[in-house]
């Protein structure tokens, strides 16, 4: 994250509007160590400016309640448009989000003063999103294609740019992109390696290689009617020679200390039994 902060600082001034967004698959795993990693990751990403995260099935590994807590704690929003409580059918998150983005720097004359970004977030279908041993209301992800058309049509009316965040199988995403009109940008996780520059859909589709080693940078040029006239996508490797951001290094030091403390406690706890 220290390199990601530098990457953002290096690029933020060259754009008029910016948004920080994650297509899901951010969680480390189960157990206390996994929770610790996920907590610090979300805290760091919130500090970097991330506001919206899609949820993949992997992000539900420790249940839904902890995600609600993390959302409140770090002031970030999760989106899971096709995820519902199994017992009463209520949605786990809002069906979509609309964020109004203003220019991040003033002084430059721009053809538009704000841009509304509509976001739908989806994952593959799963009957049970976490272990039944976690004692809380079970969640399920319903078939995304059943919801995509209606949700995109709704968000299209309220937004200038419509983004689909998808985490899962490329084969499940493909029919959505082939049949649903009105998606400007798709950011994919899960089978990220299936996304290639040769993909030809109405929607722009992008992805980065995994494990946070790259920064994805998709820049759209918009005319005065907020129509996309061109785009450019880059995956910037966060290489070792990249300078670490000092503020983020402080957070990482805190994380490493918390990790060591937890490991020591785990060793002590298991050796005392």
């Amino acid at each position: 994250m220290a390199r990601r902060a530098t990457f953002i600082n290096d690029h933020i001034d060259s754009t008029d509007f910016a948004m920080f967004i994650d297509a899901g698959g951010f969680a480390r795993g189960g157990g206390d160590i996994g929770k610790l990693y996920t907590n610090y990751l979300l805290r760091g990403m919130a500090d970097l400016g991330y506001t919206v995260f899609n949820l993949s099935y992997r992000d539900f590994i420790t249940g839904g309640n902890i995600l609600k807590d993390l959302s409140n704690k770090h002031n970030v929003e999760f989106i899971a448009s096709n995820t519902f409580y199994k017992d009463n059918g209520k949605p786990f998150t809002e069906p979509y989000l609309v964020k109004t983005i203003k220019p991040h720097s003033s002084g430059k004359s721009l053809p538009v003063d704000k841009i509304r970004v509509g976001i739908v977030g989806m994952c593959d279908e799963y009957g049970l999103l976490f272990s039944k041993q976690i004692k809380e209301p079970m969640l399920e992800a319903k078939p995304p294609l059943d919801f995509a058309e209606k949700l995109i049509a709704q968000v299209r009316k309220k937004a200038d740019i419509v983004v689909l965040l998808y985490n899962g199988n490329y084969a499940k995403l493909k029919p959505i992109l082939e049949t649903v009109k009105g998606i400007d940008v798709t950011i994919m996780g899960g089978q990220y390696y299936m996304v290639t520059p040769n993909d030809h859909f109405e929607s722009i589709i992008v992805s980065t290689p995994s494990m946070g080693k790259y920064g994805g940078l998709l820049t759209l040029q918009l005319d005065n009617k907020k129509k996309i006239v061109s785009h450019r996508n880059e995956n910037i490797p966060l290489k070792e020679d990249m300078q670490d951001d000092p503020a983020m290094l402080k957070l990482i030091k805190e994380f490493e200390e918390a990790e060591k403390k937890l490991q020591d406690e785990t060793i002590y706890s298991s050796s005392s039994h």
Binding site: M1, A2, R3, H11, I12, S14, T15, D16, F17, A18, M19, F20, I21, D22, A23, G24, G25, F26, A27, R28, G29, Y37, T38, Y40, L41, G44, Y50, S56, I101, P103, S109, L110, P111, V112, I115, I161, N167, I187, M188, G189, G190, Y192, V206, S207, T208, S210, M211, G212, K213, G215, G216, L218, T219, L220, Q221, L222, D223, N224, V229, I252
Partner: protein, 60 residues
């Protein structure tokens, strides 16, 4: 017919000035066209990620 050096110099000076004026107009048009393009569009950048899998640092 150019009868003397004076006439030739006048023609040459006129030609050079014409070329310079033409280049100046072209350069001016090019710059103003860029200015119009820049003012007519806004750039919007998504800083995006996927599948970070809890990697707080790139190596762990």
């Amino acid at each position: 017919m150019l009868n003397n050096d004076h006439d030739r110099k006048k023609v040459m000076r006129f030609s050079i000035l014409t070329i310079l004026a033409f280049l100046g107009i072209m350069l001016g048009c090019h710059q103003s066209s860029n200015a119009v393009d820049n003012a007519a569009t806004a750039s919007f950048t998504f800083f995006y990620t996927n599948d970070i899998m809890g990697y707080v640092t790139p190596c762990g």
